[in-house]
Symmetry: C2
């Protein structure tokens, strides 16, 4: 339920000029405007599931994209039923100047790519089919200029080799592995809401640079309610993210009954010190490791 | 298009413990919470038309009403297609603990009643079928106690006569007209958006105590755009409301391209001095005339 000072949960990921959105509940487009994030670069929208708080803002967002005269195809990813749900909601957004391509998830785990990221969807444990997502930005190995010189590779082939291409030049074939070191550590971002903690989440989000995770309740008496409605408490999220060795974890998706999520931070940090009780508009920039 | 500081246009009318809502665009329920208005007393929702900015917030609002454990039937009023549009949007709000009763408008003008008001819907002139609404709270005539005494009407019949009932008592029949004066002036509230000015609007909103009217553009160069897209400029609204002798007029439904609607107030008041450039959360209490 959206509150005046706390909108519904959504993630906007910007990478190299493109953007990916996870979920779009009512007023997500207002939250985006507040954060000065444009709808134009969004090429992929992933849905965790189709409860209204995760998709009710979609028709308005699509119309805004249409008003921005978007013509590029928009890709949507989500559990089975995606096309039916979206088309049903489009009763109030029937005409758009762009196509929508649907990717319906049917396996327990699926890998796809979009906006330059390796996206992995994995089933979580809610009262309806629901998925979590990891997004990885890969980083090529280091280019070994000395080796390239020693092998006599022409200078004009270097850039293409650095970008992973095989180059045929002067009757010779040069492959990237001749001059590129092993892949370096990339960036891993994970997003999980509306679920109990599971082993699959633990495995999938392992070693995330940033793990955004549901922390529905802070009040310890709500543990039973979390189990009943298939949500996660802040303490469960702290344990899970600690076990998964996430570098940093943000809690989100708070119950409207919880007026001040921040008051539980002390108790939560006893379990996992690298955790933040995220607020609306929480934002960061993830960068490749220096000297990696 | 909702903006961070200006949400979509909607009207919440509270009368004798019940409420009526006109339109429910994205984030209307957030605007209501900001204004400390509850969804519970809403018994009637009227729609002007089904463009997304007037109905996209409905699924979330219905779910909120459901969470409040509403069981009373909710009445919806709107142009033809209402049931289809609402049921289509309910793909994300399929289970509600209350029934919805649909009243689809098919005539150019229709009168109905709800939450104690006489509601009149009248077709306006937009690029899709669109209706304006007037809501009248009627006021009975003054009770003539002297006359009741002269006629020997028993005291215990008085209250029922004042409420318009015919009373049979001690083998006699007493009717309200025996002791009630002519109906006194009630309260009239009118709501019109997404239309060109028309004669029908003029006639229907005549003598409103409060007329809430679209003022889409303040920039005089947008007059052509208003005609093209079937909207009303602030100046057209001022002329219309002045001609209709509305006691007070509020402008609303501003174009997102208009950053500061208030800057046109001087020019608008030259046409109609009893006008306000309304802001989000604008609120007033309309009362019966004193000594009426």
């Amino acid at each position: 339920m959206p509150l005046p000072y706390r909108f519904l949960t959504s993630l906007y990921v910007r990478v190299n000029g493109k953007a990916l959105l996870i979920d779009s509940g009512e007023a997500t487009q207002i939250a985006m405007k507040k954060a000065k994030l444009s709808a134009s670069p969004i090429d992929v929208i992933c849905f965790t599931h189709y409860h209204a708080d995760h998709i009710s803002g979609l028709p308005g967002l699509l119309l805004t994209m249409g008003n921005q005269e978007r013509t590029d195809t928009l890709t949507m990813v989500g559990p089975k039923g995606l096309e039916k749900v979206v088309n049903s909601l489009r009763v109030i957004a029937p005409e758009l100047p762009f196509d929508i391509e649907f990717h319906e998830l049917s396996e327990d785990e699926e890998e796809l790519s979009g906006v330059g990221l390796r996206i992995r969807a994995f089933k979580v444990h809610h009262n309806v089919t629901c998925y979590g997502y990891t997004m990885e930005l890969e980083r090529a190995g280091r280019f070994d200029a000395e080796k390239a010189k020693d092998l006599g590779i022409p200078l004009k082939a270097w850039n293409r080799l650095q970008h992973g291409e095989t180059v045929e030049m002067e009757q010779k074939t040069y492959t990237p592995d001749m001059v590129m070191g092993p892949p370096r550590k990339g960036i891993k971002l994970s997003y999980v809401t509306d679920t109990r903690p599971t082993g699959s989440i633990l495995e999938n989000v392992r070693d995330s640079d940033l793990f955004i995770c549901e922390g529905m309740y802070g009040d310890k008496e709500k543990a039973q309610k979390a189990r009943q409605y298939r949500h996660m408490t802040m303490y469960e999220a702290a344990k899970l993210s600690g076990d998964a060795m996430a570098k940093e974890t943000w809690l989100t998706h708070y119950s409207p009954s919880m007026a001040h999520p921040g008051e539980y931070i002390g108790a939560v940090r006893k379990i996992n010190p690298n955790i933040i009780v995220a607020k609306d508009g929480q934002s960061t920039t993830l960068r490749f490791e220096e000297g990696g």
